[in-house]
Amino acid sequence: MSKTYYDPADLRKFGKITEWSEELGNKFFEYYGKVFEEGALSAREKSLIALAVAHTEQCPYCIDAYTKDGLQRGVTKEEMMEAIHVGAAIKSGATLVHGVQMMNKVNKLDG
């Protein structure tokens, strides 16, 4: 048994998930590949969105993958960090906006 929950080498084995459920695995990878193709958004823009989401999801595999993907696309470190701030801002905003619920409740119970 691995001594850590995350092993960087496991990312390379991602494709093997199809081995235990071929149809669903293949459908997932087909969908995944399609999502990242050039479309109304460029592949470069999608890569930056993926990097931001990788951070908000705190997925170490995705962070490794989309940092490398960004570098391959010529994305600069400044662009990467700004993208992460977008994710962080939404995360913190999502926490803080619940403060309104708290305020509503206080006002109802003790207003």
């Binding site: 390379r12 592949a43 470069r44 490398k68 570098l71 391959q72 696309r73 010529g74 600069t76």
Partner: protein, 354 residues
């Protein structure tokens, strides 16, 4: 943060300056224990072994390893401390071959080819032969390195030379990290000077192409997208124009191999190359239509094999023994570095191949 290099591996007496050490690394470890297939096994899967040379189209001549730069990933291990320089006598032997061979492209490289004292003579003589595409791989900064090089744009223009120049990124930080402090600003100035004499302009016959190779342990992105981004940024920021961008993969040899090992990226990088292996790229790898000539006149399947001291598998081993019929159909000499030319859309000195 990577510390910029000031000396070649040769000058430092590094183990990796020796080609046999590099080949040992590329054959051992993950390729020996079966974790990854060797290049020979991989191309055998699609019956592409042995890889055979086709008709010669490109003659690439390395006129010397001396360079004004010491780039982080140089596969030549070039630098100011390298003294290997092609003599005029060897150049004359090359000229004979250029006149008599069927090659349509002549490609001069180095080091900084312009630093060879006979460079201009060679260009003048070779231009007289009337070869279809005459390339000089210029590192750009040489044009601004010394007064004696300031007129190079005019000189190139006079002889209708096709200029191919390295440019790792459109930002200063990424360029200087790979090629040295101040390289970006000098390169920009040199590109503007080349533009000023007509190079790289949309309707100009004076070809100016850029070479992009990644600044670290990752593969190049899509060549067309990169070209679009480079064109937009260089135009908006500096008013610079160029024709095409060639996206080239860093091969795991020499200084780049040294970097991969030192940064503990070697295994991951080899996995990336093998995972991205594209059998369609194998059919068009440059070694099948190119011949590489070293500063001392020896023949190799490509510039990388030249640096690994893997000579051509032919009775004709030197430019003085050149024989097109003898060389055509020869078996290409391969090792695991060849995965660098078959990853993704493939890679060659002319960019993608698949």
């Amino acid at each position: 943060m990577t510390k910029l290099k000031t000396q070649s591996l040769h000058k430092k007496g590094s183990d990796l300056a020796q080609s046999n050490k590099q080949l040992e690394i590329l054959s051992n470890g993950i390729f020996q224990n079966g974790e990854l297939p060797t290049f020979k096994d991989k191309i055998s899967e699609t019956s592409q072994f042995p890889l055979k040379a086709k008709k010669l189209e490109i003659l690439q001549i390395n006129v010397g390893y001396m360079c004004n730069q010491v780039c982080e990933h140089c596969h030549v291990d070039a630098g100011p401390d390298r003294k290997e320089i092609m003599t005029r006598e060897t150049m004359q032997q090359c000229l004979e071959v250029i006149k008599n061979s069927g090659a349509h492209t002549l490609d001069l490289t180095g080091g900084a080819p312009e630093m060879n004292p006979d460079f201009r003579w060679f260009v003048e003589e070779a231009a007289k032969v009337g070869i279809k595409d005459f390339i000089v791989r210029s590192n750009l900064t040489i044009i601004r390195a010394n007064k004696k090089y300031y007129d190079l744009p005019e000189f190139f223009k006079k002889h209708n030379v096709h200029v191919v120049s390295s440019m790792p990124h459109w930002t200063r930080g990424k360029t200087d990290k790979q090629r040295g402090d101040g390289v970006f600003d000098k390169s920009i100035k040199a590109l503007q000077e080349l533009n000023a004499v007509g190079y790289g302009m949309p309707d100009s016959n004076l070809r100016l192409d850029l070479v992009y190779n990644p600044s670290g342990a990752f593969l190049p992105g899509d060549q067309m997208s990169m070209e679009k981004d480079f064109k937009k940024a260089l135009m908006e920021d500096f008013g610079i124009q160029f024709h095409n961008l060639f996206a080239i993969t860093n091969l795991p040899i020499s200084r780049f191999l040294d970097y991969l090992i030192a940064s503990e990226n070697y295994e991951d990088y080899m996995y990336q190359l093998v995972d991205a292996y594209n059998p369609a790229a194998v059919a068009n790898v440059m070694c099948t239509n190119t011949l590489s000539v070293s500063w001392d006149g020896y023949l190799f399947d490509c510039d990388f094999n030249q640096m690994l001291e893997l000579p051509v598998n032919s009775k004709a081993k030197h430019i003085s023994e050149f024989n097109e019929e003898l060389l055509e159909g020869r078996n290409i000499v391969i090792s695991q570095h060849c995965y660098g030319c078959t990853a993704g859309a493939g890679s060659s000195c002319q960019g993608v191949v698949a």
